[in-house]
């Protein structure tokens, strides 16, 4: 799906070296013909011009790779023509080789003075002309490559500067809040207010942290290398949360928010996107709206369910005509002091990275509307491929009237406190409650005092390590929880060492999953998201897009057969699960697991093992749900043959 830039460049290089475009300038047609023969035989593309004027025109119409120039010509001579070529930015870099019967040193020097790179004396030898042409072409090619690399380096440096600048700009806001509210706490005595202020301080701290994480993502988005991992998001709930957060600046200006929903009964708008991206996107837009709105006015937020999820934010301020066209470009700002103009630009990057669009409507005088459109979240159909995995999601079954899923409670145990804020930030969701603790003893205590749906536990902790926590928990649970229906906490191990032996030890201790540090936000979100969607079980996500696999030519026929046979086997597996035939499921899964890793499908291999684990835990419903995700996975795999010697 992604064209390889390296590959493309190689193709271009080949083209230039094989089919270089050489312009021959000479007033004698015979000379032109001789050169055409010599160079044509060597595979160069030849264009000819009979005088200096025509040469200039030809060079400007299409920049040649190299010019062979006679000196003595009627009208503009070769020296003058060369001077003109060197004066024009478009042709300046084209190497000019002078071919002339004038071979006194001062004649040659005159040529070099006006920028020619070489001088061939007439009568010339074919070998010499070819050798010199070849040398200068490859020099030019090398120069062009260097220039390209330089440009890429300059671009990268510029981008880093921009993000740096933007960060400094955007970080000021929350930092001001932190400082300001800390002062307020010192000055107030009311416990209730202190609580509220400390909450704001905490939120501001998170949003700073968020920006820092996000800056890396923005660089990726701008380069087009950002990997999107969309999930269904209720925009209404999200934006309402954000407006609560930005309450204080809005209150200062006595602004009010007016909201219109898709319909009176339907106060949910589900879009497909990334929670974090949407969050900071709308945070940006609302912040801008609050800043631009005149005091005492109203900011209208309009939700619309069409073939896309549409959110319009209208404020009563006006965008200056001069910048409307370029509103979403980098460095465009409307006279905001200290603003870099990256706010709307990053908003656009974030929308487009989520396959949506953003536009500005300022047709109505005296107000500004920003319209964001994001793809709808679907349970099935074409956009199913955009979802990380097909699960019987409660949220997406029918967008209308669907209540928010119940809150999931997560325990995070890690002695590195900086990870606590990180986890809170990347998992931020209205439906997820996160409790953190910093050592193993506390974790065990927490696990037995509250009902957690899942717990992420660092393996290397003081007092009690993660494996001991898991073993204690499992032991106690088996001892006291005779009731099979009691909800158990799914334990996820977090470790810095990705060794199969550690993985195995974790699974033996009762962990359902092992995550390796550094944990990518996507990995952990997927894990938690599936926990929320399926409720009681934690399936591994199977990718259903971009599953390209390179195939050994020897196996060109075997792999497709293998995939087909795995697809054929799914009904058998499903039947065994539905019949609650644990032994049969276990056997089948173990057999398939082995065959999957043999055939080069480690993800699928793990996935089948998980189905077996679910059944071992007596969780047939979850196993069935996981089984249902299999066809989409197998069908999404595309095969790519690799050449035998690569």
């Amino acid at each position: 799906m992604n064209p390889s830039p390296v590959h493309e460049r190689d193709m271009n290089d080949k083209q230039t070296s094989q089919q270089a475009d050489v312009l021959v300038v000479d007033d004698t047609p015979d000379n032109i013909n001789v050169l055409r023969e010599i160079l044509g035989a060597a595979g160069y593309k030849i264009r000819a011009a009979l005088n200096g004027n025509l040469a200039l025109k030809a060079a400007l119409a299409k920049t040649p790779d190299l010019i062979l120039m006679d000196v003595v010509m009627p009208g503009m001579d070769g020296i003058e023509t060369c001077r003109m070529l060197k004066a024009n930015a478009q042709t300046r870099e084209v190497p000019v080789l002078i071919i002339s019967a004038l071979d006194r040193t001062q004649d040659k020097l005159r040529g070099f003075e006006v920028g020619a790179v070489d001088y061939i004396s007439k009568p010339f030898r074919a070998e010499e002309v070819l050798a010199r042409v070849r040398t200068h072409l490859s020099l030019r090619e090398a120069r062009q490559q260097l220039e390209k690399q330089n440009q890429a380096l300059r671009d990268a440096a510029r981008l880093r500067d921009d993000v740096d600048h933007m960060l400094k700009h955007d970080l000021k806001g929350p930092l001001n809040a932190i400082i300001g509210y800390a002062q307020l706490i010192r000055e107030t005595d009311s416990g209730e207010q202190t609580k509220e202020f400390s909450h704001i301080i905490e939120e501001s701290g998170y949003s700073m942290l968020n920006m820092i994480h996000e800056s890396f993502d923005l660089l990726k988005m701008e380069r087009g290398t950002y990997e999107l991992n969309p999930q269904p998001i209720n925009l209404v709930a999200l934006i309402q949360r954000i407006t609560v957060e930005s309450r204080t600046p809005a209150e200062k200006k006595q602004l009010t928010f007016a909201t219109t929903f898709p319909s009176d009964e339907n106060k949910v708008l589900l879009a497909s996107g990334e929670l974090l991206l949407c969050r900071s996107l709308f945070h940006n837009l609302l912040k801008n709206a609050v800043e631009a709105a005149p005091a005492g006015s109203e900011i209208a937020i309009h939700y619309e369910l069409a073939d896309v999820a549409r959110v319009s934010i209208t404020n009563q301020g006006e965008v200056p005509v001069a910048i409307r066209e370029r509103f979403f470009d980098k460095f465009v700002t409307s006279g905001k002091v200290g603003g870099t103009g990256l706010g709307t630009y990053s908003a656009r990057l974030m929308v487009e990275s989520q396959r949506g669009s953003i536009r500005l409507d300022s047709r109505t005088a005296g107000q500004t509307t920003l319209i964001v459109e994001l793809p709808l979240a679907h349970a099935n159909g074409e956009s199913a491929a955009m979802q990380p995995a097909k699960t019987p999601s409660v949220q997406t079954a029918a967008p209308a009237l669907e209540p928010m899923p119940p809150t999931t409670h997560l325990l995070y145990a890690d002695d590195d406190l900086s990870n606590h804020t990180y986890i809170r930030r990347i998992l931020d969701s209205p439906t997820l409650k996160i409790t953190t603790c910093a050592n193993g003893l506390q974790a065990v205590k927490e696990l037995f005092t509250h009902r957690y749906s899942l717990a992420i536990i660092d393996l290397e902790m003081p007092e009690m390590d993660g494996c001991t926590v898991a073993m204690q928990y499992q032991r106690e649970l088996n001892q006291y929880a005779t009731d099979a229906t009691i909800s158990r906490t799914y334990l996820i191990a977090l470790t810095g060492h990705d060794a199969p032996s550690i993985r195995k030890r974790c699974l033996d201790c009762g962990f359902a999953r092992v995550l390796t540090k550094p944990i990518s936000p996507n990995d952990i979100r997927l894990v938690v998201q599936h926990q929320i969607a399926v409720g009681d079980f934690l399936p591994l996500a199977l990718p259903t897009a971009n599953n390209t696999m390179e195939v050994d030519p020897i196996l060109a026929e075997i792999i497709p057969e293998f995939i087909a046979s795995r697809v054929e086997q799914i009904p058998e597996l499903k039947a065994a699960i539905l019949a609650h035939d644990g032994e049969r499921v276990r056997k089948l899964c173990h057999q398939i697991t082995g065959s999957c890793s043999l055939h080069g499908f480690p993800t699928a291999s793990d996935y089948y093992l998980e189905i077996a684990t679910a059944v071992e835990h007596g969780n047939f419903a979850a196993a069935a749900a996981q089984c249902d995700a299999l066809p989409a996975y197998w069908n999404s795999i595309t095969l790519d043959s690799i050449p035998p010697n690569s």
Partner: protein, 129 residues
């Protein structure tokens, strides 16, 4: 490698998943001196081993009807097949565990299905006497 110095070898592969048999046969057939006999029926494996007297037997463990351990025991109790090198190929053990134990588990030679395919093929070739 000089193929003339290599003695032709017969390898018997037993696995109740036909896809595994096809895969290993395809990969091993690259070596012209190897003949692969494959069966998905564990019960037929004993008769095949007695009849063809292969140079090496590669056998899955977790199979229906008869498991790999039983096949190994039966072949070891017969004079004709007793000396044939026998390797388990199974997903029941992790690649790292096998490696740590230098290719054996509980005294038996073992290859994990989770190892990279080329490693598996290499280990099989190496085991041919």
């Amino acid at each position: 490698m000089n193929t003339q110095t290599i003695k032709p070898a017969i390898i018997l592969i037993v696995d109740d998943d036909p896809t595994v048999l096809r895969l290993l046969t395809a990969k091993l057939s690259v070596f012209k001196w190897i003949t692969v006999i494959a069966t998905a029926d564990p019960q037929a494996a004993i008769a095949l081993a007695v009849e063809k007297l292969p140079d090496l037997i590669v056998c899955d463990i977790d199979m229906n009807k008869m498991d790999g351990c039983e096949i190994a025991q039966r072949l070891q109790s017969q004079p004709a097949t007793k000396a044939i090198p026998f390797i388990f190929l199974s997903s029941l053990v992790a690649a790292a565990d096998v490696e740590r134990n230098k290719g054996t588990i509980g005294g038996r030679r073992m290859i994990s299905k989770q190892s990279p395919l080329d490693k598996i093929i290499g280990a099989i070739i190496e085991a041919v006497p």
